[in-house]
Structure formats: structure tokens, C-alpha cells
Subunit: 373 residues, 2 copies
């Protein structure tokens, strides 16, 4: 267990920065996805917050960002220190097995035996010291040949997350809090979620995976051999002049599958997956209700107000106003409201309906209104 | 009683076009008051609708508009046929006694014995034939030397309007439905409003007054002799080169008082006020809840959507969206909502809170945000 300021030895952080975040429309768009926004009022984007969080653990030269070609400029603007070597550009989204698997294949080729840790670009984490301790333990688990995931100790019976069932302590040097993962379980009903939380044997699946790159590739080869072959082909060409041609040829054909299904669940079934309970605050900021909740702490019942120079008059409580247009916004007598005001699109809904925002995006797409997507 | 296409003999219509309509912010503004907006989806402004309604009753050359100097261009754009002779410009608002009294004084000077009828520029009326019949009866009442008001037969126990108590039929030639007005009563409680409506003896006060100009001036002279003297001074100078100087000197000093208090109530107490029950649909469109109601008829439960080229996606009912910015607006799971989207200001409230919009305007004024008022 380490809490030092030194980066973890042999560790490389990977940030898959993909996913638009449709439930955060019209703030999140195809050309301005969730990870590029400041959803916490921190003054920096979620991507930048993620980078800053990983910096002491991996070091500036050992953080790789996997993102879409379209976001290259925005990502580099967010992270000026990001070296070309650490940018992996996808010509199109192929889901997390391809994104993380490619990073693993490239890094394993460059540095055999490397341990990688994958951390989403668009989650919110508060509590750096506990996060750092958890990652350090996860790296110890990875060094022992397992795949580690950092599960989040539930603070409520949430139904919006998947859970990790891990009732049994593991015994791994340097990872005193590690638990063996029995299984991943899908988003539960409210009743089941309550049981999970009360049992104390379940953690939230936050999608953070830490393992030797070789172990991830080995597990992937068992379930998705064709996908692995494609990734190896890409990795072989990556640091050569052939990269462009091979990417154009191979990448678009890769199978789209989440790493949870191709690697994590099979590894859990084999007893190769351990989890470190994360005691820090975590949220995937999946919708505007999450944002409202992130901003309401304790007795604070005001509307959450996001946006530089926002001019909001409100007598309302427990909702969120996102002001991206600079306009004066008056909110009268509407509690739990969600107002997202952008230059070309406006959303008005409630926190209870926040999950349904995705259906708006679907409807706009069906109607051909791609200009606002 | 007349229902002909010929204008009513000796009749002059006056349209006081003042009042911003603060409860309709941010649609109504100091430089774009309520009467300049199309609140019904008719395709024309309330002022233009009022003009069109009065045209067959008075004729194009006999409709006078009293408005603020700042609105001259907008008014003339709305009504290209409006002659200079029929435009009375106020250098600043001095309430309805001054506005209507000045029109009466000018017209009486030009045409002794003229009957004038004053009709607000920003009300909605549907049912031209019944309206025309009511005005014709009111003119008959005026010709007999009384002041006539057209009261609206209540369709519900509204608490947002004043009422006219008129239980006794009058007996006036040409005005078979005329009733003697006992008294005007202020906006009642819900219980009292219910009693009023059930009694059948009460009408809504719609602020429409029809009388000989001389009678209005005579009544005004009894209660507000100084105000009358000022108005006579203005009228004497009006059609002379001295107009500008006299306006600058006299107008700003005129007492601000509603014509209800200076003329109508005292005349009622003297037995000089008669009312014609109006059986047409009428609304003063006082707030966004009124607009929502105007647009929801019968089983139609959709959101009312106002604004040219509005692009609104909604699964919500019984509210109103005003789109003046051309943006895409998505409304998810919020019934009875009021959304007013303008280029520089956005309002979100509910129909139940519609009356409270005025407080937003007050708050913005206090905060010095005059740019959006």
C-alpha cells in the first residue's frame, strides 16, 4: 500500500474518452461530448479532472488517452502536456474492448509486463487520498497476475449502476482490502438494490480495471480471439509508418463489445478478478439528476447553477440550471427542474425525468435534426 | 340595434395602447409591449386585431390610437392605414384618465357631440357579430347621454377580474339588453366570485367605455377638475403649432389615475352608467396561464406553442411554450409548464405561478438589469 507522491512503478493509466452522454443533451453533443464539459463547477472539464487525478499515480508521460479523431484538438487543448505518443485516435467508436484492448496491445508491445489501469474520462471522483490508496492496492493485485477492479462502496440503494458481488476477502500482498469477485450483476430493482446495500457484500461497478496489459489481452483472446488478432495487428503497425493504412483497414471491422463482457465477467468466473473497495465519492454523472445531486450537499436546497457568467434568478430548489448561452434565466416556482440553455437548443425537464432525455436525442435523430445532436 | 356593415354614426373608436404587460415578461418588454405581440397565434398583433375588430364599427378614418412616443414606429408598422391625425403620442405614461380624456378632449373639439368608445389594445375577443351588436347597443346608450360599458358575461368564477354589479334592466331605445350599473367591485375571492357568477347579476369589467366625449369630460371635471383643465389646455393646442410646447409643459404634470376611478365609479354612483352584457369570448391575456388557456380548447391537452418557426419537441401537456429565438426546445415530462424563450432572456415557470412573473421583472429592475426589461 502506497500513499507516496511517487508514481506507481510500472503503471500506465489509460483514459478511454468516448461516449457522447446522450442523457446530458443538449449540453453534451457529438462534437462536445460529456468528458469535455465542466459538470462539477470545478472550472475544468471532467477529462482534465481525470488527468489531474491520475497524474500523481502514473506521471505525465504515462497517461494514454483513447478518443475519437474528431476530439483530438479539444483533448489536446484540455491537456497541453499530452504527448503524441499517448494519443490513440479512433476513426469511429468500437466500444470499450477495442479501445482499452488497443491501448493494452500498444503498451505491452512498447513495454512488456506493463500494468495498465483504465479510468473513464467522464466520471466524478472526490477524495484523492482514498482514490490513490485504492489504485495502489489495485496495482498490487495486478502485479500478482489478477485483474483488479475498483468497486465503489454504495452510499445508497442506487438502481442506475451495476453491482459487483464480492463477499470473500482475498489474500494478496500489498492489497489488504482486496476481495474476490464472485460476479457482476446488472442494474437491480430498488428492492434488490436495498438488499445488496444492506448485505455489505456488494459494490458499485465503476468500470475501473487495473491489470497487466498481457493479462487483459490473454483474457480477451479467450472470448474474442478475432478481436484480439485485430488489435495485435494494429499494435504491430502502431509505431510504424504503416499505422494509418492498418487502422483504416482493421479498426472499422473490430467487434463492438464492452470490456465488461469480453474480459471482466469471464475473468470473474475464472476466479481471476479481484476488487478493491473504493471509499471515495464517485458518480458517473449519467444524467442531469446526478448533476443536481452532486451540487446539493447537506442543507443546501438551491438550484445548482452551472455555466460561466450564468445570470439566473430563481426561487426554486433542488434542480439544475445549465447556462451556456449567456442569457438571463428566470425560474419561478418550479422545484426539481432541469433547464439546459445552450445557444441552439433548450431542454426543460425534471430530475425525475432526467433519464428520459436520451429519448429526446433519439427523436431528434429520427426527425433528421442532426444540427443539434 | 345595428348589425350592418356601415360604421356607427357619429362614433369614434379610441385604442389606448399602453402598458408593458409585466406578467408576460420576457416576451413583453418596455420596447415591445404586450399589444405588439401575437399572443393568439392569429398571425397578427393584439393591436392589429383590435384595429381590425373596430374597423367595421368606426371606419378607417375614425380610430384613434393613444400610445407612447417610443412605440410610434411599431404602431404605424402594425397599422399602415393609421392617419397622423389619429395618433396621439404620450411623452410618458400618465394612466388611462389622461390617455382617454385627452382623446375625448381632442375629438370633442374637432367634432362636438362625438361619441367615443375606448377599447384596450391588448385584449382578445372572439365573436365579431356579438361584439358588434354590443357596441351598437352601447352607442345607443351613449347617444341617450349615459356612459356605457360592455361587461362580459362570466364563463367561470374568475378571481383575476373586477366585476360589474348590474341587476336591473334599463330602458333605453336601441339598447334592449342594457342594464343599470349599481357598482363596480374589485377582484373577489374565489367564494365570492362563485356567488357573483351564480347570481347572474354580475359581469366582468373589461374596461370598455362608450360615451359622448362631452359626457366623459363632464364627469372627469367633477372628480378631477385640474386634470380636466390640463387636458383642455392640451386639446386647445393639439391641432396648432403650439402642440409640442404645451405637451412638454402640461402632460408630465397630469395626475395619474385610472378612468375607472375618475369617471366610471362616480358615474355609476350617479346612476349614469349602463352596461351591455357581452356574450362574446373575451380575455385580457394577463399572464401566460391565460395564453395557455386560450390555446387549449375542448379536449386539446397539448402544450400551446407560440412563435414563428418554433421547433418544439414535447411530451407534456397544458402549458405554453413561446419560442422567439429559433432554437430547438425539448420539453420532457413537465405538465402545466410555461417556457418563454427569447434571444436574451428565458423564463421557466408554471401556469399556477404565472401571476408571479411580475416579481421577476421587479427583481430584475432592482438589480439594475434593465437591458432585459
Amino acid at each position: 500500500m502506497s500513499n507516496s507522491a511517487e508514481p506507481l512503478e510500472g503503471f500506465y493509466a489509460v483514459i478511454p474518452a468516448g461516449g457522447i452522454g446522450s442523457r446530458l443533451w443538449p449540453l453534451s453533443r457529438a462534437d462536445a461530448p460529456k468528458f469535455l464539459h465542466d459538470l462539477t463547477g470545478s472550472g475544468s472539464s471532467l477529462l482534465r479532472d481525470t488527468w489531474d487525478r491520475l497524474l500523481p499515480l502514473a506521471g505525465e508521460d504515462r497517461i494514454m488517452v483513447v478518443t475519437g479523431r474528431a476530439h483530438r484538438a479539444a483533448v489536446e487543448e484540455q491537456i497541453p502536456a499530452l504527448a503524441d505518443l499517448n494519443v490513440v485516435l479512433e476513426s469511429e467508436p468500437r466500444d470499450s474492448s477495442a479501445a482499452i484492448g488497443l491501448a493494452a496491445a500498444i503498451l505491452e508491445k512498447r513495454e512488456p509486463g506493463v500494468i495498465i489501469g483504465s479510468f473513464a474520462a467522464d466520471h466524478v471522483i472526490r477524495g484523492a487520498r482514498t482514490f490513490n490508496r485504492a489504485v495502489a492496492e489495485a496495482v498490487a493485485v495486478a502485479r500478482a497476475g489478477y485483474i483488479a477492479t475498483i468497486g465503489i462502496r454504495p452510499t445508497e440503494a442506487a438502481v442506475g449502476f451495476g453491482y459487483i458481488h464480492a463477499p470473500t476477502p482475498a489474500s494478496i500482498s500489498g492489497a489488504p482490502s482486496a476481495l474476490e469477485v464472485d460476479a457482476f450483476v446488472e442494474k437491480p430493482s430498488a428492492r434488490v438494490a436495498q438488499e445488496y446495500v444492506e448485505s455489505g457484500d456488494y459494490l458499485w461497478n465503476a468500470g475501473m480495471f487495473i491489470a497487466k496489459a498481457s493479462v487483459i489481452l490473454e483474457e480477451l483472446g479467450k472470448t474474442e480471439p478475432e478481436l484480439l488478432a485485430g488489435l495485435q495487428q494494429l499494435a504491430d503497425a502502431w509505431d510504424t509508418p504503416a499505422r494509418g493504412a492498418v487502422v483504416d483497414q482493421v479498426w472499422p471491422k473490430l467487434k463492438k463489445i464492452a470490456i465488461d463482457y469480453s474480459v471482466a465477467e469471464p475473468a470473474a468466473a475464472e476466479g481471476k478478478l479481484m476488487t478493491i473497495p473504493g471509499e471515495f465519492d464517485w458518480d458517473d454523472v449519467g444524467d442531469f439528476a446526478s448533476i443536481a445531486k452532486l451540487h446539493s450537499s447537506g442543507f443546501k436546497k438551491d438550484l445548482a447553477i452551472l455555466g460561466e457568467g450564468a445570470r439566473v434568478l430563481s426561487d426554486s430548489s433542488n434542480g439544475v440550471v445549465v447556462s451556456e448561452s449567456g442569457r438571463t434565466i428566470a425560474v419561478v416556482g418550479v422545484n426539481d427542474i432541469v433547464i439546459v440553455d445552450t445557444p441552439d437548443a433548450l431542454l426543460v425537464t425534471t430530475t425525475a425525468n432526467a433519464q428520459r432525455v436520451k429519448s429526446v436525442v433519439d427523436a431528434l435523430r429520427s426527425a433528421g435534426h442532426n444540427d443539434v445532436l
